[in-house]
């Protein structure tokens, strides 16, 4: 401001105008993420992944629970049978990644909302990120390294193996 500040100081001349823009620091915004659009990207991701997840999850649920014998058909063989097909491998992999990232980001938002103390927030978020990473890595490995036709010690096919194993 181009003010002619009158410098002949009286005792209290330096006091700042209270409740007028110079407010108690405790109300000031925490350090902000200047010019990074991370929150925007996260927001867009939530919608895109959400839309994709609708298809992925609904088909997943339908195939697993509604078609055929429903829940009773699910066993090792069922899973193995599905993952023998690269389409289902890819399907479940996408679902795993999107759901974990979507859910993980959703959880991050919630932690940001409710964790009052900075330290709690850091802790909760570390646990969250760690579990998301572990689950994603684990899940991915399971899907890719999965071996449907397991042999027992004697080199025989296990009886739970899906039928196609016989033909190999």
């Amino acid at each position: 401001m181009t003010t002619t500040k009158s410098d002949a100081l009286l005792p209290a001349q330096g006091i700042e105008a209270p409740r007028s823009g110079r407010i108690d620091p405790k109300y000031l915004r925490r350090g902000s993420s200047k010019s990074s659009s991370f929150e925007m990207a996260a927001w867009v991701f939530m919608r895109v992944s959400g839309a994709a997840l609708v298809v992925l999850i609904f088909v997943h649920l339908a195939v697993n629970l509604l078609v055929g014998e429903g829940i009773h058909q699910i066993d090792f063989g069922f899973v193995a049978g599905k993952w023998a097909n690269p389409v289902w491998q890819f399907w479940d992999l996408t679902m795993l990644w999107l759901a974990m990232l979507h859910g993980g980001n959703g959880m991050r938002t919630i932690i940001n909302d409710y964790a009052e103390k900075d330290s709690t927030r850091v802790w909760l978020k570390s646990i969250l990120y760690l579990s998301v990473i572990v689950i994603i890595v684990l899940g991915t490995m399971v899907i890719f390294t999965f071996e449907p036709c397991l042999l027992d010690n004697a080199g025989q096919l296990l009886e739970s193996s899906p039928s196609f194993c016989q033909n190999v």
Binding site: R19, G21, I23, D24, Y27, L28, R29, R30, S32, S33, K34, S35, S37, F38, E39, M40, A42, W43, V44, D113, Y114, E116
Partner: protein, 262 residues
């Protein structure tokens, strides 16, 4: 003013004078009002006080508060000025909803139970119904709520078509009462979120064809405490005493931030 309209219309009046005219009692009724009191000067504890007062047909919650303050307990403290919903002083939680006390008629409330009056949530309570508005105004100031136009000013007005003017009409109505921001569950969590009122006032300028600083405001609101924290809960829209479509304005700002970065 227009010229007098057809005189013939006169006798068609539908009023029954005996009913609305002279004589008779104004219907009065008893209202029990419960107010959340807090004065750190005397006690760190908040408490509820209850009074029963006789009120009349046209009285509003503000009148009941005044009656208590003026006739029973002068220490009951709340802000108010215009008394007809245009200054934004008296936003408070009435029966759990954010309203202006001067716009809520008592007879429209369920009077079989006490009327509950609390300060708005999410801002530090100073005394009784008075909250510290500074954090609220701080967010408002941060979104640069003023017109910025760096082109040389014309001698006359800057031209703006009625359509361009209409574009941001809704958000010019804001009276900065904070009813919206203090009804937002995201704001309640930690008070860091800019809040709907700041976004509404940013919207008012972002969509003003005469303004040049829209980009900077969008940048401000792209912050982690900015528009992306809104979870479209619509509490703000429901609370706004001026009928502003608050959530709509927020969504328009979100979309503007998006398009800008694409």
């Amino acid at each position: 003013m227009s010229t007098p309209t057809k005189e013939a219309a006169e006798p068609a009046s539908k009023i029954d004078m005996k009913e609305s005219g002279g004589g008779g009692e104004v219907p009065s009724f008893d209202v029990t009002i419960q107010v959340r009191r807090y004065d750190p000067e005397f006690s760190d504890e908040a408490r509820w006080d209850e009074w029963t007062v006789t009120m009349y047909g046209t009285d509003r919650v503000l009148d009941a508060l005044h009656k208590v303050k003026w006739e029973i307990d002068g220490s009951l403290t709340f802000r108010r000025s215009c008394a007809h919903g245009v200054c934004g002083s008296d936003a408070m939680r009435i029966n759990g909803r954010n309203r202006l006390a001067c716009k809520v008629l008592l007879k429209d409330l369920d009077l079989s139970k006490p009327v509950l009056v609390e300060p708005i949530k999410g801002l530090p309570v100073e005394k009784d119904l008075i909250v510290d508005m500074e954090p609220f105004f701080q967010s408002y100031r941060e979104i640069m709520p003023f017109m910025v136009n760096n082109s040389p000013a014309p001698t006359g007005e800057r031209i703006q078509s009625p359509e361009e003017r209409e574009r941001f009409d809704d958000t010019t109505k804001c009276i900065l009462c904070a009813a919206c921001t203090s009804s937002c569950p995201v704001f309640w969590t930690d008070g860091q979120y800019f809040g709907p009122a700041a976004i509404v006032n940013a919207h008012r300028f972002i969509f003003d064809s005469r303004d040049d600083a829209g980009d900077m405001r969008l940048e401000v609101l792209n912050d982690k405490e900015g528009v992306w924290r809104c979870r479209t809960t619509f509490n703000c829209t429901d609370a706004c005493p001026r009928g502003i479509e608050v959530t709509k304005a927020i969504q328009e700002v979100k979309r503007a931030v998006l398009t800008r970065s694409m």
